[in-house]
Amino acid sequence: MPDLLPENTPFAIARYTPDELKAALRKMYLIRKFEEGAEESYTRGLIHGTMHLSIGQEASAVGACMALGDADKITSTHRGHGHCVAKGADVSRMFAEFFGKESGYCRGRGGSMHIADVEKGNLGANGIVGGGLPIAVGAALSAKRLGTGAVTVCFFGDGANNEGAFHEALNMAAIWKLPVVFVCENNKYGMSTSTERSTAVRRIATRADAYAMPGVTVDGNDFSAVSEAMDAAVARARAGEGPSLVESMTYRWRGHSKSDRNRYRSKEEIADWMARDPITRMADMLVEHGIATREEIAGLEAGADREIAEAIEFAKTGENPKVAEVTRDVYTEAVQ
């Protein structure tokens, strides 16, 4: 940390330029607005299926990707819109995907649950809880073998930490010292099941000990705390020192998916967490440390609004896939 800054300067303020910080806040707005827009489109019947919103978890997604470049990879989850935006995706193509259009990231074949942006290093959301864990280890194996220097960040939820895939993946990453960071976004529930009822340990990060890797728990609604933990973990991975587990404590404001009746948690709990809005906290931090004015921040927010409105328009006017092409892309070359 440069010594011009006061002792208690948050990590992120010290580590990133004002432009980087404002870009990060802009992404957080973009995630929030993207999901609000998706939710509204869903309610109006423009999007079908279901979706899992990460509203309230924006600091975790954006903070976790701060130390990554386009060559680095992520694997994401069913609650993956935030990760996708954080890794640099274009919200127009994301919306187009949600609207099932040919111009979507998956050409309308994947939808919310498989949103991806391979060019930016997002190997995809995953409909299978824990499904991305071994895949992330595989991506890290590629990076190590091919010497690309890339790091893979593997997002997963607290619920996923009880899947066998978690155990197998973390063990292999550890014994082979692979450049991967496991980010457990602990939002207290796997669907309706609280971590108290599903998980034998109080802190998931302590499970890192079972793989002899560092494990830390951070306030996932504190952008700086997330980016600080990730900075260390990514650096460690990049240096060839192996994997880490970062547990990011956060909360989803919305129900699990569109069919959730919120029977398993209280209004008070939700209100309590909404009071810890990661976006407000990030904005306040930037103001407090003189990185941005309230006006600039309002501008970022308005910009995100505009971008989302345009993206929805782009999506609406896109072309539908041709029904005759339903079996296209099953194989790389068509099979009779």
């Binding site: 995907e97 099932g100 498989h114 409909g127 299978i128 029977r263």
Partner: protein
């Protein structure tokens, strides 16, 4: 839609209109009340009521010791159910989506299906596994599969696919009385379908198909939701002078040979309709079973299969519909088949 089972005597009980999901819940309620050994296990089946609200409020009636929310651990959860079934409990294990049974194939196929045989009959595994399956919900490739044919390939398992609320209840109660593992594939789009359901306890026999509509010109063997599409098509066909007999297979392991062959001997034409991928889906077995039987001699035309397209289930709704047989597809295939002469 003509939903009369035809070949099967209706239970004597009075009936009420229930949805398919309600009928399943009623079966579980009856079983939980009658038998202390019955437990429900699965993800979010407690206070959430199940992803498709099938278990509903049962946790409030029977408590968390008997309606057990598992962690997200399909292999382990299924294995716990298998071990519990081997040692005195009667677990009903719900996979939240049947797609997630891909994580538990080891316990289902290597353990549940085989342990009785491997141990020379010294144990049995009276476990019931509920499998919400099928497409049509916009949930894309990993939440829409119809994998029932895999399980029907495995000796030691019994596999049923109820198409009506009545059968959904009766087959679940029958599965609970069966000493061997029974897998129930429930179609997600059927959960809200209503139908008359007898009150109280009754059994729909495992291994027996139902003729849902009598006909003379061709036989349509269908499973699960495709039974309804076949019946809808049959009504249109009747207006065109083609009388289709619609056989609801109901159990896909063991298959009710006699009902299928009997129908084919009568109509001389066979169309199989199923949602699973066409190649090696259940229609492959129906076709092969008929083609190697004496009914082969009665066939007046090639056997036609309408199954799922050779692709994962896509997200876009038009593509999604195109990926599985629809009523117009059945109409077209049936008309061609009825017109065909060898």
């Amino acid at each position: 839609m003509n939903m009369d089972a035809g070949t099967l005597a209706r239970p004597e009980q009075e009936t009420r209109e229930l949805s398919y999901a309600e009928a399943i819940r009623e079966a579980m309620d009856i079983a939980l009340a009658a038998d202390e050994r019955v437990v429900l296990m699965g993800e979010d089946i407690g206070v959430y009521g199940g992803a498709f609200q099938v278990t509903g409020d049962l946790v409030h009636k029977y408590g968390t010791d008997r309606v057990i929310d598992t962690p997200i651990s399909e292999l382990g959860g299924a294995g716990v159910a298998v071990g519990a079934a081997m040692t005195g409990l009667r677990p009903i294990f719900e996979f939240q989506f049947s797609d997630f049974a891909t994580l538990a194939m080891e316990q289902i196929v290597n353990q549940a299906a085989k342990v009785r045989y491997m141990l020379g009959g010294a144990v049995s595994v009276p476990v019931v596994m509920r499998m919400p399956a099928g497409s049509g919900t916009g949930a894309a490739a990993q939440h829409s599969q119809s994998l029932e044919a895999w399980f029907a390939h495995v000796p030691g398992l019994k596999v049923v696919q109820p198409s009506t609320p009545e059968d959904a209840k009766g087959l679940l109660l029958a599965a609970l009385e069966d000493p061997d593992p029974v897998l129930i594939f429930e179609h997600k789009l059927l959960y809200k379908m209503k139908g008359e359901v007898p009150a109280g306890h009754y059994l729909t026999p495992i291994g027996k198909a139902a003729i849902r509509r009598k006909g003379t010109d061709l036989t349509i063997v269908a499973t699960s939701i495709m039974v309804h599409k076949a019946l809808e098509a049959a009504q249109t066909l009747a207006g065109e002078g083609i009388e289709a007999e619609v056989v609801d297979l109901r159990t896909i392991r063991p298959i009710d040979r006699e009902t299928v062959l009997g129908s084919v001997r009568k109509t001389s034409r066979l169309l199989c309709v199923y949602e699973g991928v066409k190649t090696l889906g259940i229609g492959a077995e129906i076709s092969a079973m008929v083609a190697e039987s004496d009914a082969f001699d009665y066939l007046d035309a090639p056997i036609v299969r309408l199954g799922g397209a050779e692709c994962p289930i896509p997200y876009n709704p038009d593509l999604e519909r195109a990926a599985v047989p629809q009523v117009p597809d059945i109409l077209q295939a049936a008309r061609a088949l009825a017109g065909e002469r060898v």
